[in-house]
Symmetry: C2
Subunit: 226 residues, 2 copies
């Protein structure tokens, strides 16, 4: 029996269906990034990916399928970047991972405001947001930290995860509206990284467990005007 991955090439060049699917998804991300969901149509995406509409329809029946696949791509991308090779789970405080996770999330969100917004809304509006792979892993790592000796008492890990993720993914809309130059945008990205680290150090973990991060925070502190 010949399955879909064994289909003969239909265009001029031989295509690997998995590679074609990825090209279509990459084109969808490009369209979403520039024009948001309103600008997304299968034919526009097919054209950009250099495949014919029929081929695009073989991979994604509807616009919604394409959006859902993009949401899954964002989840998988962040999951790999943040938790990929960092699953030690030994209950020890990791200086690097906390700051790295914050930086990866802030940078991804600022570089991809539309993808982040689509991810956030799609996941939050779904029947079961807790089933999203990235949300689940993020909330679990918050819960692990909250239940460790390195954190403060009485944290609601789920509520905190929603607040944090909402902040990460909405700050870029604010950045886009309030920065005109690359330099301004970079400054606002650094501010968000710092404020998330500050909130984490003071509102979540015990700062004394992470002296290195506390030092980083102290060194970059803006002066308080009194």
């Amino acid at each position: 029996m010949v399955g879909p991955t064994d289909a003969p090439p239909s265009g001029r060049r031989r295509r690997n269906p998995q590679a074609t699917r990825e090209e279509i998804l990459a084109a969808a991300r490009t369209v979403l990034a520039s024009d948001g969901p309103d600008g997304l149509s299968l034919s526009r995406v097919a054209h950009l990916a250099g495949v014919n509409r029929g081929t695009a329809y073989q991979h994604f029946e509807t616009r919604d399928d394409l959006i859902q696949a993009t949401v899954d791509w964002v989840s998988e991308h962040l999951l790999q970047r943040i938790f990929g090779d960092n699953d030690e789970g030994d209950g020890q405080p990791h200086n690097r991972p906390i700051f790295e996770a914050i930086s990866i999330l802030v940078d991804f969100a600022v570089e991809n405001p539309e993808l982040g917004r689509i991810w956030l809304f799609s996941v939050m509006s779904s029947d079961n947001p807790g089933e999203n792979a990235f949300f689940r892993r993020f909330a679990q790592s918050t819960r692990d930290l909250a239940e460790s000796e390195h954190s403060e008492e009485g944290i609601d890990a789920e509520a905190l995860s929603v607040v944090m993720l909402a902040g990460y993914f909405l700050w870029p809309l604010w950045v886009r509206a309030n920065s005109r130059t690359t330099r301004e945008r970079e400054a606002m990205t650094r501010r968000m990284r710092r404020e998330m680290l500050r909130l984490m150090m003071h509102g979540v973990v015990r700062a004394e467990s992470f002296p290195h991060l506390q030092q980083l925070l102290d060194d970059s502190a803006p002066q308080k005007s009194r």
Copy 2:
């Protein structure tokens, strides 16, 4: 000269144009609350408000005008509820206002998930979010607190305001997806109030300046499992 507020009654009963405008806006909120922006049309809103389409068009030329007016209504409503009679500005720590402001925001957001979401997105996507009256006042009160002796060092009031407001207005989507009964919904509302207070007490202000709130937090703390 006869101005718009002196216009003769056009329907069976004498209408005050300002009252008519408010009836149309109330109908728009009802439609938005049940079906979101996609379900909003001027004719549906006019029908629900009991006015004819022509009258509705006199007040709001387009659907976008109606959405903008709803965003302004949310801003004004929250501004009044939270800051209305609480503008002391004496730099003293107020126990009641912090907890009240948190409760008002969480309750409003959970009771009006669609209105909150529309407000958040509309404001964050606008060319100048800082011009929105409620956002501006909220950020200013965060800044006042951050610059007072009752808060921790190095807070980025603007970034913090965005994170907090994003959390307040997105938590309800999570609540809606994860609660089946009124009791479950109420429990999730209480959790959010508590987590926002906790984050405020530990991540923003100096807890020792607010002993009464710290007590409230300690009393309601869930047990940490170790």
